[in-house]
């Protein structure tokens, strides 16, 4: 274990947690955190503290931190008013606590609290206590079942770790983890970043063996050079997906030079991302899709892309997006064309995008997926239109004739086929070490029904992009990162 992972261990892998500010009132932050820790199945021991020893969720509480047995808790989740926190943190250190997440407000976010925040940082240093926050909404660590936060949700476990300068946006990312099933290892909201800031968490994630991809929401950079070094070292090991808010063109530099006049904050930061291999994404939803793709797909070796579709229009739009994103929409290799010629009627597209024009039979789609992934001139595949057969099956099910007239048999066959296609795409991708991104809006529109196509993609441990264009943009970010890695490591 590196020094860094050892240092963060009490924060993300505590054996026990002291929670302060727990109350008989279930709406208080301390009670909510206590509730969430219990509800999500935290693996360690919990030590709720209430100054009156009130009963909370039918459980007794400790009146003071000092009553908590020594050496059993190494994290404190602080929800008490700022005025008592110094005393509480000293008591925590006495019983062996090594890290604290301070959720309490009233620190540097207000003018009056700035001094108290400085004292908090000094206290952390004095007590050798790792202090996260203050004024943050909490952290999760699925490795120990820890939902130490004052908000929902709790994400499923997985390889993505989040750090956010906004608590709400950390929640947004977690909501996408719940929606897609591509889960998280850790998530933390920085709060005021008094002692630990975004770059510190990223540095830790870059070394953390349970994190395969980091996902960050950034508004401000405290130390540009350190951010640059940390981001570069991170990207050299694993992908860093980043959304930046608060960038305007207003930040023109004070200089009488043309260079100064042209040096907007946005342009300089674009350069920083290019130099450090950061996969910069504009929106939360696409950032999550990108992180999920990094977490579940092999890295593309290059930009040579094949599009595979069961209908024309999707392929056309996705081809346009492919060219626009700087990916290479390759001419269909001759040997591939000849092979597919033997499999389907002549009306198929015979070019990239590969559009079978409805000529496929039972095994054609899995076979074509395999052929595409296996081909030496192909780096990546985008597969469009999964789930449309199952969608028709759903219409059969809801119609007046189900299950008569052979509808049940054909409906179940369709659903089975879409599931098979999803699994075949993932298998071919894994077998050949190439990304196959699957896209269909049915992942959203058919959620209530539970369309077998997108469900099959989830079963295969991957996610369905809601459109071909979004799959292409995700792929382009993967290609960009892979290229950076090849150049820099």
């Amino acid at each position: 274990m590196s020094t860094l992972t050892a240092r963060f261990r009490p924060l993300f892998y505590p054996r026990g947690i002291v929670i302060t500010g727990v109350s008989g009132h279930p709406g208080k932050f301390g009670s909510v955190a206590y509730h969430n820790l219990m509800a999500c199945g935290y693996a360690g021991e919990l030590f709720p503290v209430n100054r009156e020893g009130a009963v909370c969720f039918g459980r007794s509480t400790y009146k003071t931190v000092g009553e908590v047995p020594h050496g059993r808790a190494d994290l404190a989740f602080i929800c008490t008013p700022n005025s008592v926190n110094e005393e509480i943190l000293r008591a925590c250190a006495q019983i062996g606590v090594r890290a604290a997440f301070v959720a309490s407000a009233g620190y540097g976010e207000s003018t009056e609290g700035k001094d108290m925040e400085r004292r908090l940082v000094a206290l952390g240093r004095e007590l050798d206590l790792l202090i996260a926050g203050p004024n943050g909404q909490g952290l999760v660590s699925t490795g120990v079942g820890m939902c130490a936060q004052i908000v929902a949700p709790y994400p499923p476990p997985g390889p993505i770790s989040v750090v956010s300068q906004s608590g709400n946006i950390a929640s947004s990312f977690m909501n996408y983890a719940c929606l897609t099933g591509i889960g998280m290892s850790k998530a933390i909201s920085c709060g005021n970043s008094a002692a630990l800031e975004l770059a510190d968490y990223l540095e830790y994630y870059s070394e953390d063996p349970d994190t395969e991809v980091s996902l960050a929401y950034l508004e401000g950079v405290a130390d540009g050079r350190r951010f640059l070094d940390v981001a570069r070292a991170h990207s050299a090991r694993k992908p860093l997906v980043l959304v930046r808010g608060g960038v305007t063109d207003a930040g023109k530099r004070a200089a009488s030079s043309h260079t100064g006049a042209l040096a907007s904050d946005a342009r300089v930061f674009a350069g920083v991302c290019r130099q450090t291999g950061i996969a910069r994404v504009e929106t939360i939803e696409e950032a999550y899709e990108t992180a999920a793709a990094f977490a579940t797909q092999p890295l593309p070796r290059g930009p040579r892309t094949l599009i595979f579709t069961v209908a024309g229009g999707w392929g056309v739009l996705t081809s346009d997006a492919c060219v626009q994103a700087g990916l290479e929409l390759i001419p269909l290799p001759d040997d591939l064309r000849r092979k597919i010629d033997t499999m389907v009627p002549a009306r198929w597209s015979r070019s990239n995008p590969i559009d079978l024009a409805g000529g496929e039979t039972r095994d054609t789609v899995p076979e074509v997926l395999e052929l595409m992934a296996a081909h030496a001139d192909v780096d990546a595949v985008v597969y469009l239109g999964i789930g449309i057969q199952a969608a028709q099956a759903n219409m059969f099910r809801g119609g007046p004739f189900w299950p008569e007239y052979g509808l049940e048999r054909i409906g179940c066959f369709h659903e089975g086929q879409d599931r098979r296609y999803a699994l075949a795409a993932a298998e071919a991708s894994r077998r050949h070490g190439k990304p196959i991104l699957v896209a269909s809006e049915l992942v959203y529109t058919d959620r209530a029904y539970g369309n077998a196509g997108p469900l099959g993609v989830t079963e295969a441990g991957r996610m369905t992009a809601p459109s071909g264009q979004r799959a292409i943009r995700t792929l382009a970010r993967m290609v960009g990162y892979a290229r950076w890695r090849a150049r820099h490591t």
Binding site: G224, R225, R253, T259, R274
Partner: protein, 218 residues
């Protein structure tokens, strides 16, 4: 107070740092300008040069493409006549005319968060209008300079284009790297503009430069 070096001083600073700058002569009189022009070879450009003179084009203090002695004499007299008391010390700068259809701007600026940053932009004196400019935090290591060139949106303009050869990327990259090194080593430099950097044939040539220095002039 930051102050700017004259065009000639700025170019000397770049030259000392290892950037190729074409030979030029700084003279005080029209007669000396004529002599310098004959030494350099026609056509020449003549500029009024001084620490307090920036943005010369806007103030009509540049005479380009002077083909012969008579033209240099006329231009020299005109430029000297435009001098005003507030221009401070001024001289005439005689440069060999550089022509090329492609211009870029290269520069250095200090970002308040990330520190020294190197810039490359298309369009030279029109860079602000074109808006295709890219930055990299200095120093530029490894392939950073090449990547900066590749990051331009319309970078194909620097490839083989309408009968012009591709720009010498290695030379351009070296200029960018040198700017980055100056940013890291010379903390007294507030900003640098090389504008324009004219692509003549395949070579990027420094045609004008402006270096801004922190603190009062020595």
């Amino acid at each position: 107070m930051p102050h700017t070096l004259s065009e000639h001083e700025s170019k000397e600073l770049l030259r000392a740092a290892g950037i190729d700058v074409p030979p030029e002569h700084l003279v005080q009189t029209t007669a000396a300008a004529v002599h310098a022009a004959e030494t350099l070879g026609f056509p020449v450009a003549l500029k009024l040069c001084g620490r307090r003179i920036a943005h010369k084009t806007e103030h009509h203090l540049v005479r380009l493409g002077l083909p012969d002695v008579a033209a240099v004499r006329r231009a020299g007299d005109e430029l000297l006549a435009t001098r005003r008391a507030e221009d401070g010390d001024t001289s005439l700068l005689v440069c060999r005319m550089v022509s090329g259809r492609r211009e870029v701007i290269a520069g250095l600026v200090r970002d308040p968060v990330f520190g020294a940053c190197v810039m490359l932009g298309l369009g030279g004196v029109f860079a602000e209008v074109v808006g295709d400019v890219v930055f990299a935090v200095a120093p530029l290591a490894g392939g950073d300079a090449e990547e900066l060139i590749d990051a331009l949106e319309y970078g194909t303009l620097l490839g083989p284009f309408r009968g012009e050869p591709a720009v010498d990327r290695a030379k351009l990259a070296r200029i960018l790297e040198t700017l980055g090194r100056l940013g890291a080593e010379r903390t007294d430099i507030r900003s640098i503009d090389i504008n324009p950097l004219i692509v003549a044939g395949d070579a990027p040539i420094v045609v004008d430069a402006l270096v801004e220095i922190e603190g009062n002039p020595s």
